[in-house]
Structures are given as C-alpha cells and as structure tokens.
Point group: C2
Chain length 360, copies 2
C-alpha cells in the first residue's frame, strides 16, 4: 500500500452514538471504543486505515471535551493537527475548518474526510477507492465514495449514480437523496444505480471552500479567518457559524450543478448505529451463538444467542434467551433484544430527563 | 398475639439457596437476604414472626461461617442462644442439638423448629397454628404443621393426613411421602387429605430425643453429651454425628408408629426456591409488569415484564423482554427467564468447576 502525495486525511470525530448506550456516552462516545474486538478503538482503526495513504498527514477535528481522550488514543498526532471545536457546529463547520487550515498549510493538498466511527475491514479495497477519488478530486471534483448497498437500508441517504466521467475513475452524481422508505430503498437497490451515502468526501480544500462560498460566502470567509487568526479568531467566530451538515451546505447544491463525482466502493462498511448492527458486524454469518465482545472467560451461558458485552469485569450468566443484548458497564446495565436495539435511544432520553446526566 | 408459656423457637439457619445465585451465595445464603422488600431478611422476618409467641425464647442454629452475620442481623440474640455448627451435619444434628440444650435449660420446654428461609406473611394465622401444635406437643406428640396445598407442586414432600386426634387440636399423620410426580401430586391435592411438608416440627425436646434414641441411641446420647460438655464436647463429638435429615431419622419412623400429629395450616407459605417462585411471591396477581425488588429509581424500562433485582446500585435498563429475570450484584450478573429459573443451579456448578469459588 503506497502513499498518495499531498493527500490529507481529515477525521471528524463526533457523534454521541446514543443507541450504543451504556457503552457509548456523551463523555466517551462511540469512536473512542473498540467495537470490533481488534484492540483498537474505531478512531484508532480509522487512523490506522488512513495512515499508509496519508503518510502521517492526518488531521482530527473533535469536540473540546474529547480532545484529551483523542490525544491519549493518538499519541503520534501533533497538537496542531488535533483541532478542538469549542462547541458543536455540525459537519460543515468541522470539515470546512479543516479545509481552511489545509489550504494554508499545503496549497497542493487533496483532503479526504472520513468519520471516526465507521467500520471498514478491507483496508486495501478502501485505499484503492481513495486513490481513485484523489485522482478525480485533483481535477477539481467534489468526490464522494458510494458504498454498494447490500440490502434496502432505510437508515442511510442514497447517491444516484450517473454515467462515468471522461478521464477520471469516477461517475457523475445525479442526486443525493434522503433516507428512503423500505419500498423506495428496495427500488434503489434493485436498480443498481444507487449507492449508500457514507458521508465520505475527497476534495481539494479550496474547491470545497469555494463551493461553500457560492451558497454562503460569509461562512467560507469566516472559516478562512479562523484558520488565519488562530485561537482568538476561533473563540470569537466559531460560536457564530451556522449549524449545517456538509451534505446540505455543499454536496447537494454541487450535485445539482453537476460538480460531484462518485467512486463506487465495494468494500464492507458499517456505521454500527446500534447493538443490532454491531451484532451483525461481529457475527456476519448469524451463527445462532452468543457473541461476546470482550473477555469471553467472564461469560457463563446456556442456550443463549445474541450479543453480550462484559465491560465491567463482572461475571455474566445468560440462560435461555435468544437474540438477547446485554451490555454491562461499571455504572449502568442494558438488557434488551436485537429487535429492540433502536429503543435504547429512548432510555437515554429518559435518563437525561430524570437528571441522570452522569450516566448518558 | 399472646405468648405461649415455655415455647421455644428453634431456627435452623442453613441451606445455600443455589438457585437464587447471584443474590444468594455460600457466604451470604438466602436466609440473610431481604427477598420480600420488607426491609428485613428472611431470618429476621422468621424471628419477628416467632418472637411474640416465644417472648424472646429463640435459639438459632447456623454454620460457623455464618455465625457473625447472624449475630449482626439479630443483635438481641444472646451468645448462648446462637449455636454455631462446626460443620454441616444435616437437620437431625442441628435440631437435635437444640433439643438437647433446651432439655437442660428448661425441662418444661416445648420447642418449635422453623426454617430461617421460608416466607409466611400472615403472622396471626401462623401463631394460631403454632398454639395448636404446642397444645398437642404438650401431650407428647411429635407435631408438624401441614400446609394446605394450592397446586400440585412436585418440589415438596407431602403429609398424608388422618383422622382428628381426641382431645388435641390436631390430626393423625398416616405417612410422610417423598416429592411426587405431577400426576401423583394432582391426586394428592384433589383428595383433600394431603398437606405439604414444610419441615416445621413442634415437640417437647425430650420426646424428640427419645424418639431418636429408639432408632439410633448413640446419636441421641451424643447430642446430650454435647449439650452437657460444652465447647470441648462439641469439637470432639460433632464431626462424628450422622448426616441425616430429621424427617428420615425421626419423623417417618414415628409416623409409621402412629406418634406424629399434624395441625392443618391454611396460611400462605413460600420456600422461595428460585427466581420464578420469588417472582410469584412478589407479584401474586401476575400483573404483567416488571417487578422490582430493591430501589425502583434504578430501573428504566420499556415493555418489560418479569423480575429485576438491582443489588449493585447501578442503573438497569430493560427493553422489550417478557418474563425476564435480571439479578445485578457487584461482582456477578444473571440474565435469564422465569421459565429457566431452575437452571441457575447449573451455572453455579459450572462456576465452581471453573474455580470461581469467590463467586458462588
């Protein structure tokens, strides 16, 4: 795996992962956890995946309250490449600031933005897609990676893929579409011309900021001012930035203008949104066994299937339960089923309402 | 509720309660726990129930390793009335030693032996039965309390009840029978002439020991020697005593000889053998709700029924599970169903086999 000249990996490390409570917390969100049993957190695995391509040119954008935890997990990351957002302003501000900083640091940079909490196991296939995306981005395209859908998921947005683009290894993006209904998703998957939108973008920093400037010139100017002005500018300007996703601020209008390209990505990709998808990830063959994420010696079981996460060091006995989910942490315990994995979110809301912010 | 002259309550406090793991442990067995949410352990509730009848004439026999825990739970119990068995020798030795001690302390004593880990909620009805049993015991009978069966249980022995005895408020016992099959149990219950054997005996100490002497004179003599000889005799003789249940050693042969009486007992009685019966006890109407034994504020739930015991202080979320059993302790967690409550025993055996004696 060889590096790609001038390629910078930008890793927005945000998102609470509420449906992964009580493992994921506001103070220790999903990306800080090892959800694959690899011994590396999702954030660390994301850096591991990008490092060979970026040769150490990695920039992480995270919330100020997670800055220290990120620094501990990524000891090789220099201070100036670990950007702490004073407050959450959504993805356009986070990735746009990275673009503004890179525009100054490396005028030839091509940046690729990849969330810190996704799981991709095939590093080689990923690198090949990134390389193609960089080639297209170098020609001025805003490039996204379009994940080949494996089922009619309703939890993701989709990318309507058009014809190949002459001269670059990518296709036109006809349109980004919001999360569909099951019937629409089924049509998308059967058509063969839709990909999942995993929020991965490869683009030259200046192209990204100039696209933003077309719809919101102040926003783009503010990001460049922060990059130039340092800490004082950050403190003053950041809180005034619009809270908007990069998809809405830039990608959708740019697609409408025919300026977005997509590289088809065939590798397995998981955003591990809840314990059901985590269970699928850890036991893709659906073996009917009880999957243990953690120290298996802590588990005593009899006729059980599902997922158990022993994260408190205590012994856990599970008897006679199918598709169970047990997540055991030092101060909170979740017992549910894979079918009900989505409802964990409501428990977190209830705890917050009950004033148990120490637990969420 | 008035006291009964010369009545002594003897409380054998033993039994591991393996099927109530991880709440019940070898080091903290069932009788030391509050299983009703009353704020009193089963042992304390047993003493509370007997104290008004016995006016403080209470004697507890327990294992040496539980002596200190019993003393903490029963601060009013004097040292000489808290008897520590150096090793477990089954119920004949435990109750027989109490009889030998009482024979010396109070020649007019009538003793009643009641296990420390049973649940009886109607103290008045219980006291009325004990009073009748004492009246019969004073006439020289070995008296048992026969629980009116509410269903064809196969987990208890049964008492075949005969005709009323002239002059005392009790019936003849025709026979003690072992745990029956379901079909036999059904016949017993339908016949109306069988009671559950809850192992409750009321008898004059000398009568009990003399009955024992008829089948095993050395055993009876040894118990009397320990009562006379104190600590040295205990250390020397106790380990040589036969391991046999009082039922086999005395009650069954005495019944065959027509010397056992039974007082019909209509009060609700539970031996709380496992989490299914504990669930029944705590939610007799089977309300379909999630029963919480402990601090309800620790529980977050959505569409759940069954039993949850938050005994570690941690928050527990239960979502979308019916008839679930969750028992949360500081070092071990059990997740099962009421239907599988019996299988907890196998987990304890597996843990012991795995060398985790710290947990069982």
């Amino acid at each position: 795996m060889t590096s790609v000249a001038n390629f910078w990996a930008v890793i927005p490390a945000g998102g609470a992962g509420t449906r992964l409570w009580p493992l994921s917390r506001a103070g220790a969100p999903k990306f800080l956890h090892d959800l694959t049993g690899s011994g590396r957190s999702l954030l660390q695995a994301t850096v591991d995946r990008l490092d060979p391509i970026a040769e150490g040119r990695v920039l992480v954008v995270t919330g100020a309250n997670h800055r220290d935890a990120v620094a501990v997990q990524l000891p090789d990351l220099s201070d100036e490449h670990l950007i702490a957002e004073p407050s959450p302003r959504d993805s356009m501000a986070a990735i746009g600031l990275a673009a503004a900083l890179l525009e100054r640091e490396d005028p030839d940079a091509v940046m690729g933005s990849f969330a810190a909490d996704h799981v991709i196991l095939d590093d080689e296939a990923f690198a090949a897609c990134v390389r193609d995306a960089v080639a297209a981005a170098a020609e001025g395209w805003l490039v996204t990676l379009g994940i080949t859908p494996t089922h009619p998921a309703t939890g993701f947005g989709y990318i309507h893929v058009g014809a190949p683009i002459d001269g670059v290894p990518a296709h036109h993006v006809l349109e980004f579409v919001e999360k569909p209904s099951v019937s629409v998703a089924t049509q998308y998957v059967e058509s063969g011309s839709y990909s999942w939108n995993a929020g991965m973008f490869v683009v030259k920093p200046t192209v990204l900021l100039d696209l933003l400037a077309e719809s919101d010139p102040d926003f783009a100017a503010d990001l460049r001012s922060i990059a130039q002005g340092g800490a004082d500018a950050m403190a003053e300007i950041w809180p005034t930035l619009p809270k908007i996703a990069l998809d809405h601020a830039v990608a959708e209008p740019a697609a409408a203008a025919g300026r977005v390209a997509v590289v088809p990505a065939g590798f397995d990709w998981e955003d591990v949104g809840d314990f059901a998808s985590l269970g699928d990830l850890l036991d893709p063959a659906d073996s009917g066994a009880l999957t243990v994420l953690g120290d298996e010696s802590l588990i005593q079981q009899s006729q059980a299937s599902g997922l158990v996460i022993p994260a408190s060091g205590r012994v856990i006995a599970v008897i006679g339960l199918d598709d169970i989910v047990v997540v055991d942490t030092p101060d909170a315990l979740l017992v549910t089923t894979r079918e009900r994995a989505q409802d964990v979110k409501a428990i977190v809301a209830a705890l917050r309402e009950a004033g148990r912010t120490d637990l969420v």
